[in-house]
């Protein structure tokens, strides 16, 4: 009887939404306490912690997701609002249109190839190929693409976040190694390869780096959507 009651409670949006918010806030507090270690990003910790909690309480992912859906639905407006940073930096985009377009399209092609090729060569499951294909886009958009082409959004989300963590950790030293000093180029590279985290890192370098990182992130997401839809049949 008590167990049936718990199962009904689990289906309430109150349950999924509150578990998610509490897990995220707890992970953020832990992250601050530990001195912001880049590998233990709060999103990653919240996902794994919450996953463990579901396994422990015997809750199925489907019932959790059904009740956490209100949060998931906010991803839509978050994507639409990416038009705002694009508009804010419209003058840079227009002035350097050729440079930005060439860089983003090339970056997107390389990212997509590097995401899908290892999976194809190692003979991974087609579901895995479709979960890795959106990796180049920012998580908000990548989750949407993954749902659209039949990947596993959970795998996509984790892979994109791990990539972003690698990008912000390795990015600045790699730029020094390659002797790249143009903040705009560094910003574009960080935005294309490390998305939201890269944009945050780029704003720490300079305002210009941050602006170009935002442009790189949004245009790269659009390029990835286009490229993946064109290739969809062959994935």
């Amino acid at each position: 009887m008590a167990e049936a009651g718990f199962e009904l409670f689990v289906l309430e949006p109150l349950y999924g939404v509150s578990c998610t918010v509490v897990a995220y806030v707890a992970a953020s507090v832990l992250y601050e306490k530990l001195g912001r270690p880049s590998l233990l990003h709060p999103v990653l910790i919240a996902m794994l912690g919450l996953g463990g909690f579901l396994v422990m309480t015997g809750t199925s992912y489907e019932s959790y997701f059904a009740s956490a859906r209100p949060l998931h639905l906010l991803l839509g407006p978050a994507v639409v609002l990416l038009a705002v940073p694009l508009f804010r930096h419209r003058h840079s985009i227009i002035h350097f249109f050729g440079v930005i377009l060439a860089t983003v399209v090339l970056g997107c092609l390389i990212a997509l190839t590097a995401s899908v090729a290892p999976a194809l060569f190692t003979g991974a499951d087609p579901e895995m190929v479709r979960s890795l294909a959106p990796r180049a886009a920012t998580t908000t958009v990548a989750i949407g693409i993954s749902e659209e082409i039949g990947g596993i959004p959970g795998v996509t989300a984790v892979v994109v976040i791990l990539s972003a963590i690698v990008g912000v950790t390795a990015g600045p030293p790699l730029m020094r190694m390659l002797k790249i000093r143009d903040d705009r180029a560094i910003g574009l590279a960080l935005g294309v390869s490390a998305h939201v985290l890269g944009v945050g890192r780029a704003f720490q370098i300079s305002e210009a780096a941050g602006a170009f990182a935002s442009i790189g992130m949004v245009l790269n997401a659009l390029a990835t959507v286009t490229l993946v839809s064109v290739l969809q049949g062959s994935l």
Partner: protein
């Protein structure tokens, strides 16, 4: 705030409708992003409310990934069998993308500067 949110939702709904009617394999919100951008370009400015909404929501975007991301826990079979593909895609993919985009952008920005100073 509510006015800005309703505007965003209308753009998203239009995007979703276009995707569904035209049978495009593109997420509706992405088309909504394009529509909003064109609208902002036509208007020539972004309203304070829309701007604030973006700034507020974008600070908490990572929270919105969590419900989808937890799904990885149920699919450890897939992650386990494709572990090599994941590691290669994440490590090599990210480093290769970083290096090429930075090098190409640096080169092109320099070329653009030279064209400008000679033109």
């Amino acid at each position: 705030m509510l006015r800005a949110l309703s505007k965003i939702l209308v753009f998203q709904a239009c995007g979703a409708a276009i995707a569904a009617i035209a049978g495009l394999p593109v997420p509706g919100p992405v088309i909504g992003l394009g529509l909003l951008f064109v609208h902002l370009l036509q208007a020539g400015h972004v309203s304070q409310a829309t701007s604030d909404l973006f700034d507020r929501l974008s600070r908490h975007i990572p929270l919105l990934f969590v419900p989808a991301g937890v799904g990885v826990v149920g699919r450890f079979d897939l992650v386990h069998s494709g572990a090599l593909a994941i590691v290669l895609a994440v490590a090599l993919g990210t480093l290769a993308t970083l290096a090429t985009t930075a090098l190409v952008a640096d080169l092109l920005f320099r070329a653009a500067r030279e064209v400008e100073s000679h033109g």
